[in-house]
Every structure is written in C-alpha cells, then in structure tokens.
C-alpha cells in the first residue's frame, strides 16, 4: 500500500492521552489511594557486602501505627527476569550484595511512621569483603559476589567468531583500534517507582505498579508469593517515564503484595529519588578494545572486539546484554569477518540492566569512533566510508542477522546535507567541529524472554452499537505513545476519528497478553496484531453492507466515520448494527508472532534476531573551550529510518528524546561509586541530567524504508536514535581540537588533560 492511500497513518496527531496529561488528570500509581491504605518503606543495607546475622523488628513493631515487617525469609523463592538466571530474592535472604540491597520492609499507617519504623529495625550484619572492579572480580581468589554464578563471578561469557578475523585483519591495508571505557549511567524517569498491593476478599491479589512489563511481573508475583497464577492481577496505570528502568520485577512490588496479604489492607510503596539510584538496572559500564580493518579502496574487512562488562550484584537481563554487546554491532555495515568476546561480571554494586539501547550503546560508541580513526588514517570522509560499506536490504550481516529494509544510506545523505557537512568537516576553526556516526537497532526480538510458542502480542477489538470502538491490549504505555499507535491503526482500518476509539491497556485481567515495553517491540508487534483485528472487523462490516447494497465487499469503503459503496452511504454505527444483526456481536482478535525461522545458524544466533532493524545517522556539531575543557554540543542532526512513521509528531519526539539522552550520557551523566560501594551522589542535584539550558538544538529527519514485516512498513523509533549521539559527539570533538575522548563522559577534566598531553606531544623536541 502506498502512503498516499493512508488516511490516518503517516500524519501528525495529538497523543490520545495528551488531554489528560495537560490537565493534570492522568493517574500515576502514586496518585491512587485506597481506604485504609498503609505505607511501606524498605530497610536497605549500608554495606556493600554483608551477611545477615539477625533482623529484629521488635522495636519497629512497638512504634504506634506500625502494622507489619517482612524479611527475606517471608519470600525465599529466587527470581529473575530471565528464567536461566534467577539469582535474586525479593528481600535478601542470607547476604546483602550491594549498598542499598533491601533486607526488610515495614508497613505503617502513614509514610512518616513507615520511615521511622524502618530506622528502628535492628539488623545485625557481619561485614564481608567486597569487590567493585570487574577486573578484580575475575581474579583468582576474588570474593564470590552472587552464589548463583556457575563460574567465579561470571554472569555470562560469549565468544563468537564469523569468518576468519585474524586472517582478514592480517591482509588489511590499514587497521585502526582503540581502548574505550563507557561509564555506567542510569535512567532517571521523573516518576519514581511506586507500587500498591490490594488483597481482594475473593483471594485475588492486585498489584498496581509503575512497571513496563506487567506480564512478566504477573508471572513472578505468582511464583515468589506462591499464589496461583490466576489469582494475581497486575494493573499498570500511566507510567511517568521508564527507559528500561521499570522492565523487570523490583523488591517493592513483591513487598506490597506480601504486606497486603499479611495485613489485609492496601499497601503503597513509593521509592525516594535516592532509592532509584540504588535500584538502578541501568547502563552497564563496559571496557572495550576494538580493532577494525579496511582495504585501501575503503572496503571494510574485519572487526575484533573484546568487552568486559560490569554487571553489579545480580544478573538482570545480563545474559542478553552480553550477547547484544557484540551481536548488534555489525548492523549497518558489511564486514568480511567478525569476532567478539564479551564477559559480564558480578560486582558488589547495584545491578545494571537494560537502558534504552540495551547492551549496544556502549559498543556502538567504540565501533563508530574506531571507524572514524580508520577513515582518518585512510584520508577518507567518514560519511563516505559508511556509505561505501552500507549493507543492503535482503542481505544478512556478518553474524547472519537478516536485514529486510534499510534506509541507512539515505540517513547519511540527509544529515550530510542538513548539517552542511561538506562545508564544515575539517574546515571549521580550531575549537569547533563536526562528527558523524551511524547505528542499527532491533525492532523487538524474534524470541521471547521465556521460551514459548504463544503470540508475542494480541489485541481484542470490540465495537458496540453506538459505533464506539474499544481496543484491549496488554501493551504498556510509558509515554512512548503505545496507546496512540493502537488508535491510529484502528482509525486507519475502520475509517473513524480517534475520538470514537477507547484504548484499554496495562491490566492483566482485562487485556490479552503483550510481553511489554522493551526492545522496541510494540509498534511492530501490537501494531500488526491491532491491524489484523481491525481488518477482521472491517471485513464483517463490508460484508454486511455489501449484502444490503448488492455489491462486492471489496467495493465497500470505511472512511470519515461513514461506510460507503454502490452510491450508498451510512454512518459507521449503522453499518455496525447490520454486521451485528448478521453474524452476532462485533468483536475480533488479532495476534502477532515473530518469524521464528529467521536467526543465525549458531548457538546464540537467536539473540539479536529481530523482525526488522532500524537505522540511524547523526551529525553533531560541538564547540570545545580549550581553556576550560568544556564541550558544548551546539546541535545534533538526527536522521532515523523508522520504516514508516505512523505518527510523525510522536516519532520525532522519540528521536529527539533519544538524541537528548545520548547527549546526556556523553557529556554529563555517570553512575559512580565510592570505594565503600556508596553512590557518589544519589540525587538530581549531584547526578546532573540536562536542563533546557544544557540541551543542544535537536533536528529530527524522518527516513522511511517501508519494511515488509512492520505494520504499514513501520519499525522502531524509541531506542535506535540514541546510539549515534555519543560517538558523533566524540568524533566532533576530534574534528574540533584533535583529541580522542575514549572515556565517558567527556568531562572538562578529561578534555583538558588530553589537550595538555597533545600539546606536550607537539612541543616534544625531536631527537
């Protein structure tokens, strides 16, 4: 279908939930209260590693208004988001593994009393030696961090080799390389995590949570709290930002559930801002060594990557992180050989997990800067080297991932033109520079988190006699526009306005399963499911109208809130009554499952396999002050191949938000820990996220490659556009002042010391 045929898809439109948002009516978890509701607080370990000798809650329970206290012994079943690495407890059982690991939870009549009670819980610790550095954690005799680790402190080691990388590097005319360090950072949604447990008299436990994965939470609550799966209900209200930081079960969700079961009263737990920095599950620190070869004509040969990943105390999604750190690197380009070796290590720090661009933002930085070095050594324009090696639609990457559509070359061309690259690159005065980088990212994963053959996403679509359409879906609206996307698809297929559509999501009792808001999967998967359901409804309406008008169903059109054909026209609602009269209640189901046969033919080849890959290119322009070392990012041009932008405003919003977040990681943010394991500054004053004054101008350019698998050709837009920000800024700094910033973030002190080292190099007398 060509885009001109679309009535609704590809246009600009407000988010369907925007009206509630701007009037302050949107209800987030902490906006909800229940009669008799108690408030809970967690007791957290002050030690990076300690054995729990005794937890005495008597003093806390004596405080007026305290109702209950629970510890790890109340929930001794280990859990974890991946079934292969269930290595944590709702509350620590025997040992606390990082500063901030939760060991007990109290429930009291109000928040103030709960805070006081938490301070009165007497925990006797035996402090144990701890290890914070992943390199040290790998040494012989290092303290064992997590008992579930099969070998030493290794969560996962992946070694994959495609072709003959050593031979290919050996025959290359030029080989470039670098050692890189990507400091960890965290999500910082403006809404802190919040959960409420409500025990219904019928024996059903409802947990309302600011989660982005209600389905996985549903499963784990049932397992850990030992309640039948069909007696747990998870409700996900509006979520105030997530970015991957709410994509696995957390201590608070189990605790409010357990405390509601014990007390019989609703229980709410709201994290403090400080707690978010310790609950974390953000970007992994990675040490990376990269080598990349090319022939004199600019053809890339092999890439060789070694990566050490600092995982923190628990596995989280770490098994996948280890694979993604290598699997998603070749993406936009053609290589003749590739090897990666990635090791994720446990340390006594808050666990890392998935943050927007999971596992691939760090290696993308290393790869794109190495590529910039290579281009420079060859005296080739860095846009040109990417263009020459760009993979084409229908090809497989060196690690066998199938690329069905790519707009990468167009992305490069668009940022080249928009940024006036040719007039700027190597031509701006000292202190000012431009840099380019590219990337590719998954649009969902072909294989779900727990092995099963069921659909990854489903939609029920019901139409009542008024013409009102209700869409039931398990997707998680976290600000990215999932609900609006469903409405757009239904409006397109049924020819109605958004106002005729209601979207019900995020409630395991009311909606069919969707696996959640992670890996940029919803638009493609739920979009396809919704389209199938809406098409089925449209088919029934066409059939009913055609029967009355004596024409073929294909000649009946649904448009503008009406149904037309054969010179006749009736309001949509009237045609609905015909369809209901003919064949019964008008309700249809659509579901989507991924193409399972599409993956690499090797062990691990299913990880990184996606129905569709997005592509992005950025050009960043920076000013570097060589007196202060301050890097000012003036502007980032972002071109992103979203396949088809179902709503241009929302897609641009994702692109701008992604580029902003990448910029923030490049320049400002770092999750840094004191040698004791304490966070260096767990507040928004110390951990500085960009304000309106810091953020550069962001120019978004939508590219559409029309993917064969995506609904109307759509691919993801929420994560891919983050990746190139960081290497584009690093490459621009090189263009500006001739230094390679290989460590994140690009702080003034790093820039100054590199500048002075460079000056010393230049001034060194030649012998």
């Amino acid at each position: 279908m060509t885009s001109s045929k679309h009535r609704r898809v590809g246009k600009r439109a407000p988010k369907i939930d925007a009206y509630e948002a701007v009037t302050g009516r949107t209800q987030y978890a902490d906006d909800l209260t229940f009669p008799g509701m108690l408030h809970a607080k967690l007791v957290r370990s002050p030690h990076a590693h300690a054995r729990l000798l005794n937890i005495d809650g008597r003093r806390a329970l004596q405080l007026e208004g305290v109702h209950a206290i629970i510890t790890g012994k109340d929930m001794p079943t280990p859990y974890g988001i991946l079934p292969w690495t269930q290595d944590e407890y709702a509350l620590c059982l025997e040992r606390a593994l990082f500063v901030g690991d939760a060991v007990a939870c109290v429930a009291a009549v109000d928040e103030t009393t709960a805070f006081r009670a938490a301070e009165l819980v007497d925990v006797e610790y035996e402090v144990l030696p701890h290890v914070l550095d992943p390199g040290e954690a790998l040494l012989e005799g290092a303290v064992k961090v997590n008992d579930f680790a099969k070998k030493g402190n290794v969560t996962k080691h992946v070694h994959l080799e495609f072709g003959s990388p050593d031979e290919e590097l050996g025959r290359s005319d030029i080989v470039a390389g670098g050692d890189y360090f990507f400091e960890g950072n965290t999500h910082v949604p403006i809404e802190p995590h919040c959960a409420i447990g409500v025990m219904e008299p019928t024996g059903v436990l409802t947990v309302i949570s600011s989660t982005q994965v209600p389905h996985y939470l549903h499963r784990e609550l049932s397992r850990v709290l030992e309640i039948p799966y069909n007696r747990v209900r998870v409700i996900q209200p509006a979520v105030g930002g997530a970015f991957g930081g709410k994509s696995e079960p957390f201590d608070l969700e189990f605790c409010v559930g357990k405390l509601a079961m014990i007390t019989g009263r609703p229980v709410k737990l709201l994290y403090t801002r400080e707690e978010l920095f310790y609950s974390h599950r953000g970007r992994h620190p990675m040490k990376m060594t990269y080598k990349l070869g090319a022939m004199r004509d600019g053809t890339l040969t092999a890439c060789d990557a070694r990566t050490l990943i600092d995982g923190g105390a628990y596995a989280s999604f770490g098994l996948v992180t280890s694979y993604y750190s290598g699997q998603l690197v070749p993406g936009p380009l053609r290589l003749s050989a590739y090897r990666f070796d990635s090791t994720r290590v446990y340390t006594n720090k808050p666990a890392c997990g998935p943050k927007r661009g999971h596992g691939s933002v760090q290696p993308r930085f290393a790869f794109e800067v190495t590529l910039d070095r290579l281009a420079e050594q060859m005296n080739l324009d860095p846009i040109e080297i990417r263009r020459r090696n760009a993979i084409e639609a229908g090809e497989r990457t060196i690690n066998e991932l199938l690329i069905r559509s790519t707009g990468f070359v167009e992305c490069l061309g668009r940022v080249e033109e928009a940024s006036q690259w040719k007039e700027k690159y190597r031509k701006l005065p000292f202190g000012r520079g431009v840099g380019v980088a590219g990337s590719s990212y998954i649009t969902g994963t072909n294989y779900p988190i727990y092995p099963n053959e069921m659909p990854q996403s489903a939609v029920q679509l019901k139409v009542d006699r008024s013409g009102r359409i209700t869409i039931f879906s398990g997707v998680s609206e976290i600000g990215q526009g999932a609900n609006s996307m469903l409405a757009t698809v239904a409006a397109e297929e049924l020819g109605v306005e958004d106002q005729a559509i209601r979207v019900v999501t995020g409630d395991t009792d009311l909606t069919p399963v969707d696996l959640g808001a992670y890996s940029s999967r919803i638009t493609l998967m739920a979009g396809n499911a919704c389209r199938i359901a809406a098409e089925a409804v449209a088919t029934r309406i066409r059939r009913a109208a055609a029967g009355r008008w004596d024409c073929a169903p294909e000649d009946v059109e649904l448009v503008g809130g009406n149904v037309l054909g054969s010179g006749e026209e009736v309001p949509f609602a009237e045609a609905v009554t015909w369809a209901e009269s003919d064949e019964g209640t008008l309700s249809e189901v659509g579901h989507y499952n991924t193409p399972r046969d599409v993956h690499g033919s090797y062990r691990g080849g299913t990880i990184g396999a996606s129905p569709a890959y997005s592509f992005t290119a950025h050009v960043a322009e920076v000013t570097v002050d060589d007196e202060t070392g301050v890097v000012k990012v003036e502007r980032i041009w972002v071109a992103h191949d979203a396949g088809k932008a179902l709503n241009r405003t929302i897609v641009e919003g994702q692109m701008e938000g992604s580029a902003y977040m990448g910029f923030a990681e490049a320049i400002l943010e770092a999750q840094v820990f004191h040698p004791t394991g304490l966070h260096q500054g767990p507040s928004l004053l110390d951990y500085r996220i960009p304000t309106t004054l810091d953020t550069p101008d962001l120019v978004s350019i939508i590219v559409e490659s029309d993917d064969p698998e995506g609904p109307y050709g759509a691919k993801e837009a929420g994560e891919g556009p983050l990746h190139p920000s960081i290497p584009a800024i690093a490459n621009a700094i090189y263009d500006a002042v001739g230094i390679r910033v290989d460590t994140l973030p690009f702080s003034p002190s790093q820039v100054l010391s590199l500048l002075s080292a460079k000056r010393a190099e230049v001034e060194k007398p030649r012998v």
């Binding site: 246009k11 600009r12 439109a13 407000p14 988010k15 939930d17 925007a18 009206y19 509630e20 948002a21 701007v22 009037t23 302050g24 009516r25 949107t26 209800q27 987030y28 902490d30 906006d31 209260t33 999500h187 910082v188 949604p189 403006i190 809404e191 802190p192 509006a238 979520v239 105030g240 930002g241 997530a242 970015f243 709201l270 403090t272 801002r273 976290i478 600000g479 990215q480 526009g481 405003t649 929302i650 641009e652 919003g653 701008e656 938000g657 992604s658 580029a659 902003y660 977040m661 507040s683 928004l684 004053l685 996220i689 304000t691 309106t692 004054l693 953020t695 101008d697 962001l698 978004s700």
Partner: protein, 163 residues
C-alpha cells in the same frame, strides 16, 4: 504534629482548613485536598514536577510548607483549563506533542504560565531560562519549547503540521 488552622485560596476557591505545621504544600495539595496534578519527582526541589504558582509566581511546592502560603492564592495545573476549553499553553502542548509520559507536564505548564502571564517578550532563550528548573526526561525539550513559543505567538490552535 497537631494541625493548625490554615486559610488560603486554591484555584480560586477560598479554603478554611487545617494542616500540620510540617505538611509541605505538595503533600497538602495531593493528599489533603486531592489535587494530584502536581507531582513528586524528587521531594528535594531538584526536578520541578511540583511547581505551582503562588500569587502568580512559580514555586516548588515540595520544599514549601503549606503554612508558608497562608493567605496566598495558589494555582495548580488543574486551574488552567476553563471548563472544557484548554489554556493556549495546554492546547499547544497537545498539538506539538510536548507531553510524552506527562509526569513533568503539570510543573512545566505552571512555569510556562508564569512566563506567559508576564509582560516580557517571549523568545526561545527566554523560554529556555523560564523552564530551566523543570526537568523532562522524555522529550529533549524541543517540542516543549516549540509549544510555549506557539502559545505565546497565539498559534496554539493551528494544526499540527505547522512545522
């Protein structure tokens, strides 16, 4: 602590009530009055999600005690729309896609309203300065600044493809 009498105006309505001397204005609004539009993002005055107007000036309600604004007039996000009619700022936020998750939106709108109501000529730099105390993690601020600019130009009701 024992509640003490408190009299103030909230969104135009005079309230004669009482509140604990240690109750913050944000807690008072959210939990005592039931106006949950103002948000708690940090409870330390760092994020701006709790911004409300007190006698027309933007303040951080999470680090202001309810009793500090005794006798004052407080405006929250709930006061912006007049019946079903959105304020031009609200309309511009809707049209421009300036609200993604929406959590910073109420505070952002109130800071923007202080600028909107002032006699200062509105520039993009001026908007950036006026909103510098309100953190947003979703948008990269571009569409928020666009929206405030639109509303100030009186373009809020123009269709979305203005760009």
């Amino acid at each position: 602590m024992i509640p003490k009498p408190l009299e103030l105006r909230i969104n135009g309505d005079l309230m004669r009530t009482s509140a604990s001397p240690v109750r913050t204005l944000l807690e008072f609004l959210r939990y005592d009055v039931g106006l949950t539009g103002s948000k708690q993002g940090c409870d330390k005055g760092d994020c701006g999600a709790c911004t409300v107007l007190v006698d027309g000036k933007p303040i951080l309600s999470c680090i202001t005690l309810a009793h500090e604004v005794s006798g004052c007039s407080v405006e929250t996000v709930e006061s912006l729309a007049q019946g079903a009619a959105l304020h031009p700022l609200q309309q511009a936020f809707v049209t421009r896609g300036a609200a993604q998750c929406g959590f910073c939106t109420p505070g952002m709108l109130m800071s923007a309203k202080a600028l909107f109501d002032s006699s200062e000529p509105v520039t993009r730099d001026g908007i950036r300065r006026a909103l510098a105390g309100n953190l947003c993690r979703c948008t990269g601020y571009t569409k928020i600044i666009d929206a405030v600019e639109d509303a100030s130009d009186g373009q809020a009701d123009s269709p979305g493809d203005a760009k």
